[in-house]
């Protein structure tokens, strides 16, 4: 047991390491950031939602930085695109943190976090289940559709076009800025990196080549989550350094084990299991919101 100075509660060190290790393991296995599993897991452990969201961002920053180190060596980061996405992300996260603080004050933060997670977990979970089901049935997976991605999208017709040599693109700067903004706001409120939305959007909307997508999205996630940690520390003081250190340790070790084991397992099985897990977690969020509560009064407003 260790007492968390900001969350003001004692937690079991081994339990937190185990949970963050499991989340890291899954993220290494499947290749997702893991923020959208880590934050709900912390909330289920009893960590106050504001602390879970703000502290979770620091763990995502650690994971994405280690990812970038690998991607830079492969020269698969489009810095110019990453910078544009980050500018949008910075503005989005400033807005997101302000909204977070506002929601915390009026006592609706927990509800908004629950609702967003409900939609997000259910959406991602169903997509993963469907994909693994299709693979299991022997059909060719969605990878075909990546080759068939549309030649021109809205990104190519809007004004303020710019050349992106590494991606081989000539597109408007508006969609990357808008995309970055949305992801930044989402990240600030939910404690997720947002890679699982960013990656498909970059492939389908911006038509970026898949080999630079991961590295570039990691760059944006790193910039945005780092900024969120600093902004949340200043605005709401909900970043718990002790919890953050435990999460980083567990997440990093788990991710390595996951990545190594993942090489020897069938990915459709892994994705199917994770999909089922996410749908289950979404059902729990929905259940809590829909059933008639035994206690109709709640103590609200963490900051009074």
């Amino acid at each position: 047991m260790i007492y968390l100075p900001i969350a003001e509660m004692p937690v079991n060190v081994l339990l937190v390491l185990l949970v963050s290790g499991c989340v890291g393991f899954v993220s290494g296995l499947v290749g997702v950031g893991g923020g959208f599993i880590m934050t709900p897991a912390l909330i289920f452990l009893g960590v106050p939602a504001p602390v879970a969201v703000a502290t979770g961002a620091s763990q995502i920053a650690a994971t994405s930085f280690s990812g970038i180190m690998t991607q830079t060596r492969r020269k698969s980061v489009d810095w110019r695109m990453g910078l544009l996405l980050s500018i949008g992300g910075v503005i989005g996260s400033v807005g997101g943190v302000a909204l977070f603080e506002r929601l915390l004050r009026i006592g609706q933060l927990d509800l908004i976090i629950s609702l967003l997670y409900l939609v997000l977990l259910a959406g991602v979970g169903v997509l993963m289940l469907r994909e693994s089901y299709h693979v299991w049935r022997g059909r060719t997976a969605k990878s075909v559709s990546i080759l068939r991605r549309p030649l021109r999208t809205v990104a190519h017709s809007l004004p303020f076009r710019l050349r992106f040599p590494r991606s081989g693109l000539y597109v408007s700067v508006v969609p990357p800025l808008a995309l970055g903004f949305g992801i930044g706001a989402l990240a600030a409120i939910m404690g997720v990196g947002g890679g699982f939305i960013l990656v498909p959007a970059m492939i389908y909307l911006l038509r970026m080549p898949t080999n630079v997508v991961i590295g570039t999205s990691l760059f944006q996630v790193l910039i945005v989550t780092s900024l969120i940690v600093i902004l949340q520390s200043a605005a709401t003081q909900t970043v718990d350094l002790v919890l953050a250190a435990l999460l980083m340790l567990g997440g990093v070790v788990g991710a390595q084990i996951g990545a190594r084991l993942g090489a020897g397992m069938k990915s459709e099985h892994i994705r199917g299991m994770l999909g089922a897990l996410l749908v289950g977690a979404a059902a729990k969020f929905l259940f809590d919101l829909v059933i008639t509560p035994a206690e109709t009064y709640v103590l609200g407003g963490g900051l009074g």
């Binding site: 100075p5 180190m69 350094l241 103590l299 609200g300 407003g301």
Partner: protein
């Protein structure tokens, strides 16, 4: 008659609580706290606060009440409403102050020691210290909100009631010894606020307050916990940057380890 009684009760509920310390009573009840300074370090899991005292009456007549009070802070109570099939928080009611921790210990049930008026006047009940600061929404009942505040804090272990000596496998309780010595033990859970507390001891006889005493108890962070908390509140920008640097260091370390293996 009944309506009048209810009206009286409501006025009492709504009227602002009076001075915490009775002015017309001697503050000379001999009492002491075993640990006036409680340290919250990284292995903190809550603690016990022990209050000792002596009933000056040689024959041990009278009743002892011990109250451990936490800081009075603003609080909000909300009632859940159903909107589009989902239960959301609504109808907030603000209390300008309510004790964040409150434990009452007595040698026998409090209602047998003092009447409702005295309990209210000397704030021997947490609801007596909770002051409503905003209008209750239409259709809401102010006493229901007050009761909800007490109930929710009680479930969190922040409001406690003990009557008589500690039960088996429990340490909290008030025990009377021969010669008028008494000992009260309060369980301070880990979720209780880190702040200044006050242990108040009261001697009642025949329903009247004879004497009382107030002793401060400080719960504060020490060492590492204190450093972290001070950094987070005083130099929050710096604290955030340090956290990010730690994250980058962890990420870099992982990447180096990953490459070697």
């Amino acid at each position: 008659m009944r309506a009048a009684l209810i009206a009286l009760a409501l006025t009492l509920l709504a009227s602002p609580a009076r001075a915490q310390q009775p002015g017309d009573v001697a503050n000379d009840l001999p009492a002491a706290v075993a640990e006036e300074q409680i340290s919250v370090s990284s292995d903190y899991r809550g603690s016990y606060i022990t209050v000792f005292g002596l009933n000056p009456d040689r024959r041990g007549r009278g009743d002892i009440v011990v109250v451990l009070r936490g800081p009075n802070e603003a609080a909000t109570v909300m009632r859940k409403r159903r909107v589009f099939g989902l239960w959301i928080n609504g109808d907030p009611v603000r209390f300008s102050q309510a004790p964040e921790f409150f434990a009452v210990l007595s040698n026998r049930p409090l209602r047998q020691i003092a009447n409702a008026d005295s309990i209210w006047r000397y704030q021997l009940d947490p609801a007596a210290s909770a002051q409503l600061a905003s209008a209750v929404p239409a259709g809401g009942d102010p006493s229901a909100y007050r009761a909800a505040l007490v109930r929710l804090r009680r479930e969190q272990g922040l409001y406690q009631w003990y009557s008589g000596r500690a039960r088996e496998n429990e340490r909290g309780g008030l025990t009377l010894y021969q010669g008028g010595l008494f000992r009260a033990v309060v369980r301070l859970p880990a979720n209780a606020p880190i702040a200044q507390y006050h242990a108040d001891t009261y001697l009642f006889r025949d329903g009247r307050l004879i004497s009382s005493q107030r002793i401060p108890v400080t719960v504060s962070r020490v060492g590492f916990e204190r450093t972290i908390h001070d950094l987070a509140t005083n130099v929050s920008w710096f604290y955030g940057i340090v956290t990010v640097l730690l994250a980058l260091l962890a990420g870099w370390g992982a990447s180096v380890l990953f490459r070697r293996s």
